[in-house]
Symmetry: C2
Amino acid sequence: MNSNYPSRVLQDAVEAISSLPGVGSRSALRLALHLLRQPSETIHQFATAVDRLATDVHYCGQCMMVADGDLCSICADGKRDQRTICVVESVRDVMSIEATGQYNGVYHVLGGIISPINGIAPSDLHIKELLARLEEGMEVILALSGDVEGETTSFYIYRQIAGLGVKVTTLARGLGFGDDLEYADALTLGRSIAARQPFKP
Amino acid sequence: MNSNYPSRVLQDAVEAISSLPGVGSRSALRLALHLLRQPSETIHQFATAVDRLATDVHYCGQCMMVADGDLCSICADGKRDQRTICVVESVRDVMSIEATGQYNGVYHVLGGIISPINGIAPSDLHIKELLARLEEGMEVILALSGDVEGETTSFYIYRQIAGLGVKVTTLARGLGFGDDLEYADALTLGRSIAARQPFKP
């Protein structure tokens, strides 16, 4: 299917679309032909909406999250607790936590995670900007993933923060609330036993 | 996940991407954030490649296929048999048949299929343009899908062509070449028995 596109323009569009992660060349062709069937105005709106990602997206000067202005809506919100900072890898994590409705502090988006394999060093992340925000008595919640890279990053930040008089916490881990023991994986179950908590009736 | 995008620009991009068929809002967010991590120039190239679908794609004046100029490369190819016309629903079908390397005639792209449910009438398809191409002694291969809509469209075109002195053929159907009987569906197997062919050793 790859060869012999009837049009160079179509081929260019298919190649652009198939550069997206998880989109193969067959899907890309399907999507390109779908777009081609739309009115010119619809195609143009689509292209413009994507193009504006390059030109019109700003980053919050405080938490480094995607924003429309100099400060994101969460940092600008006077009702949020500005002294509790939840450190996450990406914008997606912010959106996931916001969707729970359970958190009233602010965030700090690292923009990645320390990963020697992928060539990502601490200096590539917004760790300096985090340290610059910290004041004595604040709480930092390390809400990074539970894999080796996430734990490495958490530990690195923990070491940087130590001595600043900041409380450092992390997400509770264990069996999912409501989970059946039967379906839990052995690692989670084993760690949940080791990290057992006082029973609160 | 839908509410509370941290940026209107990001939200617009996610909404545009999730308007594509088969792309949900979670995937669209993932793709938008992937694009956002790319250099501005990459995002701009992506948007431009898509935008050109609206402005720079032409249609072959003879077979109605996507083309870069007035005539597609197949219709313009003097080595192709211009008196054998394969009628297909879409550009994708042309690409699939071309990929087999088994066909040396030309095509006619209907741009859809007769479908009362979807409000697609014969006049919405490039059937007039097909009739205008036909000359006595030509062959028309009806290569449409085997469902009700495909067969309706084939029959409609067959009726329009009747009396023009054109040979009308259709794709061979039956068990796939090399298929095992064990895994064939009952409809295909039943029809393949009914439409049995002389054995050629």
